[in-house]
């Protein structure tokens, strides 16, 4: 397949050209950048058919690139979100410094993610995985804030994961003598039980790091909020999905074949559930929209992990559907935050309020994103959540259902905070000058909002490819008749009739809308922050009276005991201990020539003493 070579040549060449085009003019750079992302996207979806492959060899290792249904599904996320985020980036990066650097790493990230999903052998998979890691690392440190802590934490966790994966890869190679994923899957059945257990663990370690699963998630909040928002939408939307992609492959092809009694799936599902719950709690606590969304990403990935690790067909579908939805709504929400950051200069709820009239389109996108995130019909998030609950109940995971239900209910709190904090509430004079974001930023957001609405009504658009992908991985298709025409008005899942549920929820919603509008129309009085009665005290000028300050205090007080233990502290303690050890080792080199001479003598003596053991 020549198209593959052309696509990757365009990505690589375009990335380098875009970098240097900044010296000419910024318009040329923008156009080159867009072309570098959009042309390969077009080529991929028009020129590459499912089932095509390209074998070649490098350093005596035979490699294979190809597209199957499952990879195609994820390439949809990568390239779809990649293209929209690219358009958005052009607006977002206008007037910022280091544009060439941003564009280069953006293109490399998209390229490496596409490479991951088309890799049919472990070596190219690993190469693209590492390129993805360092290009995203370079984006995390883009702003230059706290690079030594946040950036290195991200890279160290990624590297630990990647090296675990590399270890698994070479172990597999020493058994099978090939690097093809296909051969690994086939040989897996004949391996010893010890290897059968360790290989999935090593692989899952790598994927769990990227999917920000507890307790390996500590890099995520810092990294997500530190990267430029135009990239974070891709980072959280698509890059974290690479972890899910790998997890699904390993779970389906390996863990499914493990003997009964090894509680792989249970452990993973519970970790996912805990991730969801804790991520949600931490998200509620945040006052910064970037941090809030970062924790929310961690939480949402928790749901996805629960879905794919339960592993029944319905759960798998729920997980993957949520993955697509998460790419859409979290991509949108990060774009929204980026737009607000660009227009107002801050992303703190306690500072910005009342933007609904100033940025109506951004509000629309945010609203769609929030509805989808919270899992309220009629948007796609509801479908995914519903399937997830149903799959958990049908597979007898009642405790997990409670945990998931708790966290998705608690998620309403931060959803509300996000929407209300930024867009509703009193309008402050300080933000009177704010205007709507430029069209290049608004159009991708609104488009994604529309996609979410469409997917909510016609989930079959995504469920069908997911179904094909799962069949590729060896699932027996038992729901086919439902996905083909699946829209929400059908009865599906375990033959649950969704229609009445949908209608009653919409009915309640419309009733309340009318009620609120009617009430509001009668007694509207515009107030500002200072327009309050406070027991005769006049608030000081510099006092922050925005309603978002201490928004969820009673709730946070209630859950404080759960949140007291932070994984981060343990890791920091461990790292400090290591630094102490390194310092001790450094002191072995005293700088004194006599000591060094003594070392030589000691070395000879020790080796002579143990010569019978050694030689």
């Amino acid at each position: 397949m020549e198209t593959f070579s052309i696509i990757f040549a365009i990505f690589l060449g375009g990335a380098v050209l875009t970098y240097f085009a900044g010296k000419l003019s910024s318009v040329v750079q923008d156009i080159l950048f867009l072309a570098t992302v959009l042309v390969p996207t077009y080529l991929f979806f028009s020129g590459v058919s499912i089932g095509s492959s390209m074998p070649f060899s490098l350093e005596g290792i035979s490699l294979l690139w190809g597209v199957n249904h499952f990879g195609w599904l994820f390439s949809l996320i990568v390239l779809g979100l990649g293209s929209l985020a690219a358009v958005y980036s052009v607006g977002y990066m206008k007037g910022k410094e280091r544009r060439g650097y941003f564009y280069l790493n953006f293109v490399l990230s998209v390229m490496s993610m596409l490479g991951i999903v088309i890799s049919q052998d472990l070596i190219s998979f690993f190469i693209f995985w590492e390129i993805m890691t360092w290009s995203s690392y370079l984006m995390v440190i883009y702003s230059g804030n706290d690079v030594q802590r946040i950036g290195i934490k991200y890279f160290v966790f990624s590297a630990i994961g990647a090296y675990a994966m590399l270890m698994a890869i070479v172990i597999v190679h020493s058994v099978t003598h090939t690097f093809f994923i296909e051969d690994m899957i086939q040989a897996y059945g004949q391996m010893s039980l010890q290897l059968q257990i360790w290989i999935p663990i090593l692989f899952l370690l790598a994927f769990a790091v990227k999917a920000a699963m507890m307790p390996l998630h500590v890099w995520a909040p810092g990294a997500y909020s530190n990267a430029p928002m135009a990239y974070t939408s891709l980072f959280s939307g698509a890059l974290s999905k690479m972890g899910v992609y790998g997890m699904v492959i390993i779970l389906v092809t390996m863990v499914n074949r493990l003997p009964q009694g090894i509680l792989f799936r249970e452990v993973l599902a519970w970790l996912g559930g805990i991730t969801a719950a804790m991520g949600t709690l931490w998200a509620i606590k945040q006052d910064d929209a970037k941090k809030l969304l970062a924790y929310s990403s961690v939480a949402q990935l928790g749901y996805i992990i629960v879905g794919v690790s339960i592993g029944t067909e319905l759960a798998m579908m729920a997980g993957l559907f949520l993955a697509v939805m998460h790419a859409l709504f979290k991509g949108t929400l990060f774009m929204v935050v980026g737009a607000i950051e660009k227009q107002t200069g801050t992303t703190n709820f306690t500072e910005v309020t009342g933007l609904i009239r100033k940025m109506p389109w951004t509000f629309f996108a945010a609203l769609m994103g929030i509805i989808a995130l919270a899992g309220i019909p009629p948007l796609g998030g509801f479908i995914g959540k519903w399937m997830l609950y149903e799959s958990l109940i049908t597979s007898d995971h009642y405790l997990l259902v409670i945990l998931i239900f708790f966290s998705s209910t608690a998620a309403f709190l931060y959803c509300y905070k996000f929407l209300f904090g930024f867009f509703l509430g009193q309008e402050e004079k300080e933000w009177a000058h704010v205007k709507e974001a430029p069209a290049t930023m608004v159009v991708p957001m609104v488009l994604m909002g529309i996609f979410m609405v469409v997917l909510g009504t016609f989930p079959g658009i995504v469920l069908n490819p997911i179904n094909n992908g799962l069949m590729d991985l060896g699932y027996v298709d038992s729901y086919k008749h439902l996905w083909e025409t699946s829209i929400i008005f059908n009865s599906w899942g375990d033959h649950v009739i969704l229609q009445p549920i949908l209608y009653s929820i919409m009915g309640i919603f419309i009733f309340f809308l009318i009620f609120v509008l009617w009430k509001g129309y009668k007694g509207t009085r515009y107030v500002t922050t200072k327009d309050i009665s406070s027991s005769g005290e006049v608030p000081k000028e510099d006092e922050n009276l925005t309603f978002s300050v201490g928004f969820m205090q009673p709730f946070m007080r209630a859950v404080a005991p759960v949140m007291r233990r932070q994984m981060d502290k343990y890791y920091t303690g461990f790292a400090n201990g290591l630094e102490g050890l390194f310092d001790f080792v450094r002191r072995i080199y005293t700088g004194n020539a006599q000591t060094y001479a003594v070392y030589v003598v000691v070395f000879i003596v020790i080796v002579l003493l143990f010569k019978d053991v050694l030689f």
């Binding site: 490098l58 350093e59 005596g60 070596i123 690993f126 190469i127 590492e130 390129i131 890691t133 360092w134 440190i141 230059g144 690079v147 030594q148 950036g151 290195i152 890279f155 160290v156 590297a159 630990i160 090296y163 675990a164 590399l166 270890m167 070479v170 172990i171 190679h173 020493s174 630094e579 050890l581 390194f582 310092d583 080792v585 450094r586 072995i588 080199y589 700088g591 020539a593 000591t595 060094y596 001479a597 070392y599 030589v600 000691v602 070395f603 000879i604 080796v607 002579l608 010569k611 050694l614 030689f615």
Partner: protein, 494 residues
């Protein structure tokens, strides 16, 4: 035939002696002649290597005395590969320092280039010779020029570093001579091939003790822990290109010597495991020490020591994959670490203490140098798609094939440590505010060329490793085939 292996020793040695005389004719010749010599040797070594890869090794007999009586030079795929690598690095160092040393005046420049020629002579001689006493002589030549180059900046610190190097170097010579004496007293021959055929007749105690002495002596030069006390000081105090030459040429030659003893001359199987043990200890200690360093070149020195430890581990697997991995690693390390030393020494050019903190924000003033340093850092920690990845992959594959899972996991854990300290420096270059007191020094044109060549090589090998792996495969097959080496040398009659 375009030339014979003896030219590799004769020409640079001759040039080294002629340099002071030529300097009397025209001062610029001091700078030009070494370059011409190295270019000639480069052409010669590439030609010979091509010849050897097709037609088998060339055994050169000196002064008409056939082995085992005379000294012979062996240019095989294995030694040829290393010679080519060393001459190439010598050439890079020459390009880099052509104008680098112009400011220092004529006298120091004369000494510098003279010593560089001696260093190349010695290192190449170590690799080519087929005689253990001759190897001792070459090790001395390398060592002496190394001591002098360390003290090039005639300051207090460089004198101290040089003294440490000299002191440990003399211990090494003594031990080496002792080891040679033991072997000679038992076998009555100094020819490597001859010793290899007779080594089974030596009593085990003598054999083991002489091996231990050999490893200790050569381990001092090859920076094995705990014998490598001299190395961090020497690297830190010597000029940047000399650091590159140490990492790329001197240490490689010493590692070659160890490998030649263990693979060809001795028949002690426990030596392989011993290599893994000392290699791992060296790797771990060096990388741990590197992370807490305050001076840039010291950090690079420890990293270099660690990489050499990894090379020894890979040799210790004793399989064909292991040797391949080790040679690949040596090649990549020579290229990448040289690039790091060359670019790093510009990053701290004007700073007084050469600390890591003083590279802050240098990218605005030295964009290309900073970029190349970052490239080198990414490559040496083994991130794809750069050169270092392939060698790291082959080391790990070799480890897995030898069922050394514990060793493998240790290597990977240490790699994380390595990653951290390199990234910290790169982050400083790009994201920290520059110190006011430090003034950036623009690299000279020729230094830039030298660094760009190395940078390009990293990318070429990274994207298309096949350019070099064919040669390395043949070189590793050549080292593994002990009987062929013995036959090739001993069948020469003259």
């Amino acid at each position: 035939m375009v030339g014979t292996p003896v030219l590799f020793v004769a020409i640079p040695l001759l040039a080294a002696f002629l340099i002071p005389l030529l300097g009397m004719i025209w001062k610029e010749l001091v700078r030009i002649v070494p370059g011409l010599v190295l270019i000639y040797l480069m052409v010669l070594s590439v030609n010979l290597l091509n010849h050897v890869l097709v037609n088998g090794p060339i055994v050169e007999v000196i002064a008409g005395w056939a082995p085992p009586f005379g000294i012979n030079l062996v240019f095989s795929a294995f030694s040829g590969f290393l010679v080519t690598l060393m001459v190439f690095l010598g050439l890079i160092v020459w390009i880099y320092s052509y104008r680098f040393k112009r400011n220092v005046g004529f006298e120091p420049a004369k000494k510098y280039f003279l010593l560089l020629m001696m260093l190349v002579t010695g290192a190449v001689g170590i690799v080519l010779t087929g005689d253990i006493f001759n190897m001792f002589v070459f090790i001395e030549i390398t060592g002496i020029s190394g001591y002098a180059l360390t003290a090039f900046y005639t300051g207090r610190d460089s004198a101290e570093a040089s003294f440490k190097y000299l002191m440990l170097g003399s211990i090494a010579s003594t031990l080496l001579l002792l080891a040679i004496m033991i072997l000679y007293s038992q076998l009555g021959t100094l020819n490597m091939a001859e010793i290899a055929t007779k080594i089974h007749t030596v009593k085990p105690a003598y054999k083991v003790i002489s091996l231990i002495l050999f490893i200790t002596a050569l381990g001092i030069e090859a920076e094995i822990f705990p014998l490598n006390g001299w190395a961090p000081d020497a690297y830190a105090e010597a000029p940047g290109p000399v650091g590159a030459a140490f990492a790329g040429i001197v240490v490689k030659a010493s590692v070659y010597a160890i490998i030649r003893y263990i693979y060809t001359i001795f028949d002690i199987s426990g030596a392989y495991d011993f290599l893994i043990i000392i290699g791992m200890v060296t790797l771990i200690i060096a990388e741990f020490a590197a992370i807490r360093q305050e001076k840039l070149k010291r950090m690079l020195a420890y990293s270099s020591i660690g990489q050499m430890g990894l090379v020894l581990v890979a040799f210790g697997f004793g399989t064909k994959e292991g040797v391949f991995a080790a040679l690949f690693l040596m090649l990549n390390h020579a290229i990448i670490k040289s690039l790091l030393f060359l670019s790093g020494s510009y990053l701290v050019y004007n700073s007084k203490d050469k600390t890591i903190a003083e590279v802050n924000g240098m990218h605005k003033f030295l964009p290309i140098t900073s970029f190349l340093f970052a490239l080198g850092a990414f490559a040496i920690v083994g991130l794809p798609p750069f050169a270092g990845f392939w060698s790291k992959l082959s080391v790990l594959t070799a480890a897995a094939d030898s069922h050394m899972l514990f060793v493998m996991s240790l290597i990977l854990m240490v790699s994380v440590v390595e990653l951290v300290y390199y990234l910290r420096v790169v982050n400083r270059i790009y994201f920290f505010k520059k110190e006011e007191s430090v003034e950036a020094k623009k690299p000279t044109f020729n230094a830039l060329i030298a660094m760009l060549v190395l940078g390009a090589l990293i990318l070429v090998i990274g994207f298309y490793p096949d350019v070099i792996t064919g040669v390395i495969h043949k070189a590793s097959a050549d080292l593994m085939d002990k009987t062929k080496y013995i036959n090739d040398v001993l069948s020469i009659k003259q």
